[in-house]
């Protein structure tokens, strides 16, 4: 089932970074897929987690829809949105409605927005790297 829309700021539709534009163009051309599908279709090698984060960001900006497919998500372009990624603004600092920076330093920023799948993927990566370090005698 498609998840409900999250983003309420219409300006976010126009504020795309270069990687977001690239991924958005690819999803529009191929019709979408899982993170791994999109990773393999990209012209340059990018980390799985980077593509996952980018897709998640595009979903939160309401440019993509996603459906649960087993343990991962399948992303697809939102047909109702007619944003040309090539014409989208690249600078995200022009419009801002965020509150000021707090005077408190946190270990993690903006709690409550982490994706379960992303955390699982990062956990696996850390465990693999720990095993590698143990094999190499670094730990």
């Amino acid at each position: 089932m498609t998840e409900p829309r999250r983003s309420r700021n219409p300006f976010k539709l126009l504020l795309l970074g270069s990687l977001e534009r690239e991924v958005m163009t690819l999803v529009s051309q191929t019709g979408g897929g899982t993170v791994r599908d999109i990773c393999s279709s990209l012209s340059r090698p990018l980390a799985y987690t980077t593509v996952m984060t980018t897709l998640d960001r595009l979903f939160k900006k309401d440019l993509l829809v996603r459906q649960k497919d087993g343990r991962c998500f399948r992303y697809a372009p939102r047909s109702a949105v007619s944003v040309d990624p090539g014409k989208a603004f690249s600078s995200s600092d022009r419009l801002s409605n965020t509150p000021p920076i707090p005077l408190v330093s946190y270990l993690l920023d903006a709690v409550g927005t982490y994706d379960e799948a992303l955390l699982q993927e990062l956990e696996k990566t850390i465990a693999a790297r720990r095993r590698q370090f143990e094999r190499e005698g670094k730990l």
Partner: protein
């Protein structure tokens, strides 16, 4: 007579501040992309230093210019002419200048008030140690640095249950890095620095970069390039991210940049164990020579009476 003299002085100072700040702000915004392209190849500490210098530079230099040039030249050469008129363009610019400064002050005062309230609510007593456990689990996130002048690391009891000793030490070291570099105080200065126009956060990208690179710098401090510390900090980040997402958002937290991107970037960086390189000597020379040249030129020009008089005539022309 004194009142009109003072009002004219205020208008002149505010309008000059706005114009100088606008010009320097545009310069800073133009320079920033050139610097930010080199950020990936330099230590995060340097990247955060450059970001905050470019963010605070326009405000500091404009304030200095008003205090060292506009104010002395006006006080020295302006007679008490009550009939002197002020042109409407300078009035408008003074209004905008005053508004951006007032907004920055209100923003900073509000943040200080919130920070003090938070600090009072979580601090049980005067504690000589640099960290302490909070009684209220919901008041702050699991682990945070609270306070401006004598910041302390506030730890939720849940953290001690969730993290191993190694992971806990890594997180404490991370927060200690923020403490040593006075990051909370820097946040206050960022809030105090006005924007180019009222209600438009023109320097947000620099603030985001400073925030991101100060986190990476703190990560570097906590891990010191050692694999065991890197793995421990990465594990702690994931554990706390899982733990905190079930809580309601704490006060004063703002989404300055996508949390997932930040977390991914930090974890991937910790696992790479890449030793950061020093910036090129050319860049270091450029970074140090800029402020030195500016100070030198100020020291040479300011005592010169013709220069101050020249500034006065320029301001007079602008005022009318």
């Amino acid at each position: 007579m004194i009142a009109t003299y003072s009002v004219r002085l205020l208008i002149l100072c505010c309008a000059s501040f706005f114009l100088i700040h606008f010009a320097l702000g545009l310069l800073s915004l133009n320079l920033f992309p050139r610097f930010s392209r080199t950020f990936a190849s330099m230590p995060p500490q340097w990247a955060s230093r450059i970001s905050i210098s470019l963010r605070l530079g326009p405000a500091c230099l404009s304030t200095l210019a008003v205090l060292c040039l506009c104010l002395p030249s006006y006080l020295r050469y302006e007679g008490n002419l009550a009939t002197e008129e002020v042109g409407w363009p300078s009035l408008v610019l003074a209004g905008i200048g005053l508004l951006i400064c007032l907004l920055a002050l209100v923003r900073a005062a509000s943040a200080v008030a919130k920070s003090s309230a938070l600090s009072r609510s979580v601090r049980a007593a005067k504690d000589p140690d640099y960290w302490y456990l909070t009684r209220d689990d919901k008041a702050v996130p699991s682990i945070a640095l609270v306070g401006l002048l004598e910041p302390k690391v506030v730890v939720s009891p849940r953290v001690l249950q969730e993290l191993t000793l190694e992971q806990f030490q890594a997180t404490l070291d991370h927060e200690s890095a923020h403490r040593y570099s006075n990051d909370n105080l820097k946040r206050l200065f960022i809030l105090l620095a006005p924007d180019l126009f009222p209600f438009v956060r023109s320097f947000r990208r620099m603030e985001d970069h400073w925030n991101r690179y100060s986190e990476l710098s703190a990560d570097d401090f906590a891990t010191r390039g050692q694999p065991d510390r890197s793995i421990a900090l990465a594990e702690a980040l994931i554990k706390l991210a899982k733990f905190e997402r079930r809580q309601s958002p704490p006060p004063l937290v703002s989404g300055l940049f996508t949390a997932s991107a930040s977390l991914t970037l930090r974890v991937e960086r910790l696992l790479r164990l890449k030793t950061p390189t020093q910036p090129s000597p050319r860049l270091q020379l450029l970074l140090w020579s800029g402020p030195c040249l500016l100070l030198l030129s100020c020291a040479l020009l300011l005592p010169h009476p013709h220069f101050v008089e020249g500034v006065y005539h320029l301001l007079e022309a602008f005022l009318h």
